[in-house]
């Protein structure tokens, strides 16, 4: 079958010593590499090598986890890092295993494919001389006396003809042989088993290549979008961006996308889960360069496709709109600021930087509570994620915010070491507390801060919609997907054929028996796992033996 020589169905190899000379050694190693045992060991090794990546955080899937790991284990982490344990699936050793495995696979599949193509075109093999030694051997001596005198060879030939028809109707490929006066039919079926096996292994290669190749052209990026604020799809407006190896900025299709509304449903009836979100809906519109407009509601599990990019809903939170007037009455800051959620009830932390404020730059650290509640300690916390009782608290700092030094600083952090606290904390001035629509004066004539409401006309205690929401999105483009999917499905179909289509040979032989009638012999041979072979031969004997008797 041109299977690896250590396949259990292959004849045991006679020589295992390498032939002399370079070619001999190369051939020897190639044979070792493409043997079943090597494939098996590499498979087991692959399973083992995949384990550490589940024990140690991976840069690819959990970059923050890696940072935390370094903090928590400063001695161990660099050592693990040098072994590439934070990048297991891109590591030299993991790659080596799967590349060897796939080389072995290619080396295994190619000879089998050529062999199989030949087998597909060849006739079923000559009937063995002795069927007794084969599986399911059955003898029938049908009573043909009723047929009259025309016994012997004629009857044998016609019995074999009917056996051939029977086998052919059961999708066997058939061939008649006549050896030493015995008529016989040799039949084989289940070529699909080997075809399926080859398709399966080749498709695995296809999956790997699609992922590798497609991944190089893929990109993904993250963007926080606040209700009403348009996002222009160019590289510079992403918050973060991960290009594949062959990514080129020209691959980005320019378009403008706007989050029109973000809505959340909360559980209201089930007290075991009161206030748990049950649905997130991001209504977006998008417009491309040609002016084609498209709108959609993005939900978890329901991405939106536009301009070759798929947009996934990832997270959400509140973006209070804040206006800062400086000591000279100028507007130094006026923007919706995304506050990062700290817990499931969206207690959120946000930073406000007003470097243009005069006479001094202003920085603020704010906490936003969509539904403010008071802990036993006296501190605020949010007790519901919806806007039932919104509250913003602010601590205010003055001093050099460091924005002019040219060093990029995250908009989500404020380094207060060099700043002077003027409101909250130890400053002696109480932390500012604002409801939507309220304004507070800063001390020392520094100005004022306003928490703008989005629903100025709403009645008292109706806070719905008073604070903008934001949603964070992942934008993806991966040309590998379709290819990987097609190959994966091919692999599955190949696997089904390979495991469940029985490949078997069946022979029926007819001899004139000494008593004047005929003696029919049936036997089969499994090629690969075939638990139903004996049954199948017996069934053919029953059906055919019965037929002949008629």
């Amino acid at each position: 079958m041109s299977r690896p020589s250590d396949h259990y169905d292959s004849a045991p190899p006679s020589i295992t010593q390498p032939e002399l000379g370079v070619i001999g050694y190369v051939r020897f190693f190639w044979r070792q590499l493409t043997s079943m045992r090597t494939a098996l060991l590499l498979l087991l090794l692959l399973a083992l090598a995949a384990i550490p990546g589940s024990l140690v955080p991976q840069r690819s899937s959990d970059p923050n986890g890696v940072v935390q790991y370094f903090d928590a284990n400063p001695a161990l982490a660099p050592l693990l890092d040098s072994l590439q344990l934070f990048d297991v699936y891109a590591s030299v050793w993991f790659s080596a295993i799967y590349l060897l495995l796939f080389i072995s696979l290619i080396g295994c599949v190619i000879p089998r494919t050529t062999h199989h193509l030949r087998a597909l075109r060849s006739r079923p093999p000559r009937t063995p001389a002795r069927l007794e030694r084969l599986e399911g051997f059955t003898v029938r001596e049908p009573d043909t006396s009723a047929l009259g005198a025309a016994a012997g060879s004629d009857t044998a030939a016609s019995a074999i003809d009917s056996a051939r028809d029977l086998l052919a109707s059961r999708h066997y490929r058939v061939e008649l042989y006549e050896v030493g006066g015995a008529h016989s039919v040799s039949a084989e079926r289940g070529y699909l088993r080997e075809t399926g096996n080859l398709v399966f292994h080749t498709a695995l290669l296809g999956v790997l290549v699609s992922i590798g190749l497609g991944g190089s052209f893929a990109y993904n990026g993250q963007k926080v979008m606040i209700e009403g604020a348009p996002f222009v799809h160019v590289l510079g407006s992403y918050d973060s961006f991960n290009p594949g190896r062959f990514f080129d900025e020209s691959h980005l299709e320019p378009f403008v996308m706007t989050l029109e509304r973000f809505e959340v449903d909360y559980e209201e009836f089930n007290l075991n889960a009161y206030g748990v979100p049950t649905d997130f809906r991001a209504a977006v519109t998008a417009r491309d360069q040609e002016g084609n407009e498209s709108g959609a509601v993005i939900r978890v599990n329901h991405p939106f496709e536009f301009g070759g990019t798929r947009v996934y809903l990832l997270g959400n939170g509140y973006a209070p709109t804040i206006t800062v007037r400086d000591g000279e009455g100028n507007i130094a800051f006026n923007r919706a600021v995304p506050f990062l959620p700290q817990d499931s009830n969206l207690t959120s932390l946000g930073i406000i930087k007003a470097p243009d404020a005069l006479p001094e730059q202003l920085g603020m650290i704010g906490f936003f509570y969509p539904t403010a509640g008071v802990l036993a300690s006296g501190a605020y916390t949010s007790i519901h994620a919806d806007l039932l009782d919104p509250l913003l608290t602010l601590r205010v700092y003055t001093g050099d915010l460091g924005l002019d030094d040219g060093i990029p600083i995250s908009v989500y952090t404020l380094d207060t070491d060099e700043l002077t606290e003027v409101v909250g904390g130890d400053s002696g001035v109480e932390t500012i507390e604002l409801r939507p629509g309220e304004t507070a004066q800063l001390p020392n004539g520094l100005g004022s801060v306003t928490f703008e409401t989005m629903t100025p006309g709403a009645g008292a205690n109706n806070w719905a919609g008073s604070v903008k929401r934001f949603a964070s999105f992942d934008l993806h483009h991966n040309p590998a997907e379709l290819g990987a999917l097609v190959f994966a499905v091919l692999a599955l179909l190949g696997l089904l054929c390979s495991l469940f289509v029985p490949r078997r040979r069946v022979w029926v032989k007819a001899k004139a028996s000494p008593g004047g009638g005929i003696r029919l012999e049936y036997a089969g041979l499994a090629r690969g796992e075939d638990p139903g072979l004996v049954e199948a031969v017996a069934d053919i004997a029953d059906t055919h033996g019965g037929k002949v008797e008629e």
Binding site: Y8, M36, I51, P57, S61, L492
Partner: protein
Amino acid sequence: MTEQLASAALVAIYSAMAVYSIALVFFAIDIAKRSSLKASPVQSELLGQADGFRGSIAVAKRAAPVAQAKASRFERTGFALTILAWLLHLAGAVLRGLANGYVPWSNMFEFSLVVSLALTTVFLGIQFWQKLGYLGVYATGASLIVLGVGTVNFYVDVTPLAVPLQSVWIIIHVGVAILATAFFAIGAGLSILQLLKARYEANPDASRLGFLRTIPSSVSLESLAYRMVVVGFVLWTFTLIAGAIWAERAWGRFWGWDTKEVWTFIIWVIYAGYIHARATRGWRGAPSAWLSIVGIAAVVFNYTIVNLFFKGLHAYSGL
């Protein structure tokens, strides 16, 4: 209404556990009785021929599938009780599903509930095809443990389906994974028996497990185990692909080496290894059986340790 349905589900589940326990006792008595049975020579001869090794004569082999000894009274009672337990178990799962308003496999308690149900379903289902009474202790014992641990240690109240799980893929991907697990588990049980039987065959007099005489040969058991595992493997392959499609829908990438993805992959590779081992000279028999056992161990590890202690996107243990 939800509350009533959920507590009715619990009543059914605890009843199922009680009946499983009694079924287990009956199967165990049957096994104990087998040990004291004198093997009739005819029976062992027929069993020997059920193996289908090449070159034996067909006339006797034809009779092979029914060649096992007639089930004992205890075994038959064990089966009857298992069917009763299964009905209660099924009722428990259906009631829980109704209480949820969605499929009853969205947290660890429910996984245990449905995996053990699938295990019994597969065990009972294959009886139509092969009589596996000698596996009764293993099957009812495994169901009982999984269901018991899940219900006692992981029980959670009905809550709305977490937003990320609101997708048809939870039905397809998780449902098929559960079914695959059931086939792997039955396969592993057969592999364990295969190992015991192989040791018995090597030295029949040294074995104190007399019942081994009454079960099929190690070669037959291996072939049965193999057939269970390949069905499980196909289902697992499907789970893997369906999971990738869902991950693409939900997270925008079909594969990201998230912890759960890693373990799904590891399990898949182990079973691919098992199938290969069965086709590799020197690896058929005991070494391949060990791989089947390692495989189910990895599946159990994936359901328990990985769910409880490993960090990842698939954080839906409900605990």
